[in-house]
């Protein structure tokens, strides 16, 4: 062990970071070399001097830090709560959306009569498309009316209104509102009119509406439901209804 290596390792030696063998070699050299020994003494003196330079924390710091950490802990807990609350809010929001969607659907679901009006219009359109206006093509009410006997459990009003400009074209069976119904077909100029009749609970109803460009008039009376549908203009159709009513319930 020489002075150079000792000089190199003296700090690690002082810090007890050297292995046993190296430490013993340096120890031996320090015993023999006054210069290195002095250097080592200087180093130890420095270490001792520096060792007293510990800065103690001010007394209030412990309190301050503890308080800050506890606040942070509460903040974390609160943010946990908040996130749970957020989840809660999100869940309720989803529930509300689903519920209101249901409600909107319920509300916006067309009323029974409107649904039926669609059926009526569809039936009217079908009868024209399929060229299936009448099962019993006749302008004679006394031919048409009996035709329904045995086919349905009610007797529909059949009026010949040719003299009023509404020619009876015929009658047929149709299926509406989950039941077989009587359909009577009239014609005014180039316009066909479907007149549906069937027994129903509804009473004292009168309704006019438009569907897909067709005019629909519905009324119920004395346990019977009546539907009129045509592309005929509304006022003429109204006239037709009045005519029917005046003839049927004289």
């Amino acid at each position: 062990m020489d002075c150079e290596l000792t000089h190199e390792l003296i700090n690690a030696y002082a810090d007890r970071e050297l292995g046993l063998i190296r430490s013993m070699e340096i120890e031996g050299h320090l015993r023999d070399c006054p210069a290195c020994s002095e250097r080592y003494a200087g180093l130890q003196a420095l270490r001792g001097a520096i060792g007293v330079l510990y800065h103690k924390p001010p007394i209030h710091l412990q309190k301050r830090v503890t308080k800050a950490v506890r606040n942070a802990s509460r903040g974390e807990k609160k943010s946990d709560l908040i996130s749970w609350r957020m989840i809660g809010i999100a869940v309720s929001a989803v529930v509300i959306v689903i519920l209101s969607w249901g409600v909107v659907r319920l509300v916006s679901r067309p009323a029974e009569s409107e649904l039926l009006a669609r059926e009526v219009v569809a039936s009217h359109v079908r009868s024209l498309m399929a060229n299936h206006l009448a099962d019993v093509p006749s302008s004679d009410q006394h031919t048409v009316k009996p035709w329904f006997n045995g086919k349905i459990d009610f007797s529909p009003p059949v009026e010949d209104l040719a003299s009023e400009g509404f020619a009876l074209v015929g009658g047929r069976l149709d299926y509406l509102d989950n039941r077989p119904v009587a359909a009577l077909v009239y014609q005014r100029r180039q316009h066909y009119i479907n007149f549906f009749a069937w027994p129903s609970e509804a009473d004292d109803v009168k309704k006019e509406l438009s569907q897909q460009g067709y005019n629909v008039i519905h009324w119920a009376r004395a346990g019977m439901s009546y539907w009129i549908v045509s592309d005929l203009n509304k006022s003429e159709l109204r006239g037709f209804v009045e005519l029917l009513q005046s003839r049927t319930w004289r």
Binding site: G42, A49, I50, V52, H55, R64, E76
Partner: protein, 174 residues
């Protein structure tokens, strides 16, 4: 970690090292007020990261956070001085003989503190961790994220500089 026990564990394992935290922060910032602020900030960071604390030496773990908090603080508040330390680090210690042990022993603590404060921050840090906290080379290497050899050479150079500046300061005073 359950929140309540997290606080309890933290207070039990990390809070007792407040003195070490303050001492390091005080030497690195060289200001009492700043040291307090840095310590509080470091403790809050430590609490946030406490979930990642895998047991072991709570003091070394905390001091790593204090050190990093200090360096962030220095970069933000003393960037000029902080940047200069690199150049200072490159300075080579003079070959002047070390002062005698008796001279150092007679130096008062105010002068010693001045000598230590004048060291570049990396040297100061090595001295504080070694001489005041008694950390091993390995612990310092881990804490400062530097090789073991660098710890050894930094300590040697730091001590050399300290001795020289003590001699210089005492020469002035005498």
């Amino acid at each position: 970690m359950e929140e309540r026990s997290k606080l309890e564990q933290f207070e039990e394992r990390i809070l007792p090292h407040l003195a070490a935290a303050y001492n390091l922060a005080r030497w690195l910032t060289r200001d009492e007020r700043d040291a307090e602020d840095v310590v509080q900030e470091a403790y809050l960071r430590a609490f946030r990261f406490f979930g990642g604390f895998r047991g072991g030496d709570g003091r070394a773990w905390l001091l790593t956070i204090v050190r990093n908090t200090c360096y962030t603080w220095l970069q933000q508040n003393r960037s000029h001085e902080f940047a200069a330390s690199d150049d200072e680090m490159q300075q080579v210690e003079s070959d002047a003989p070390s002062p005698e042990a008796s001279l150092i022993v007679s130096a008062d603590s105010k002068l010693l503190a001045q000598a230590l404060e004048e060291l570049p921050v990396e040297f100061r840090e090595a001295i504080v961790l070694r001489e005041l906290e008694g950390l091993s080379y390995k612990e310092i290497a881990d804490l400062a994220d530097i090789p073991l050899g660098t710890v050894m050479s930094r300590l040697a150079r730091a001590r050399k500089r300290l001795q020289q500046s003590i001699a210089r300061l005492m020469g002035r005073e005498v």
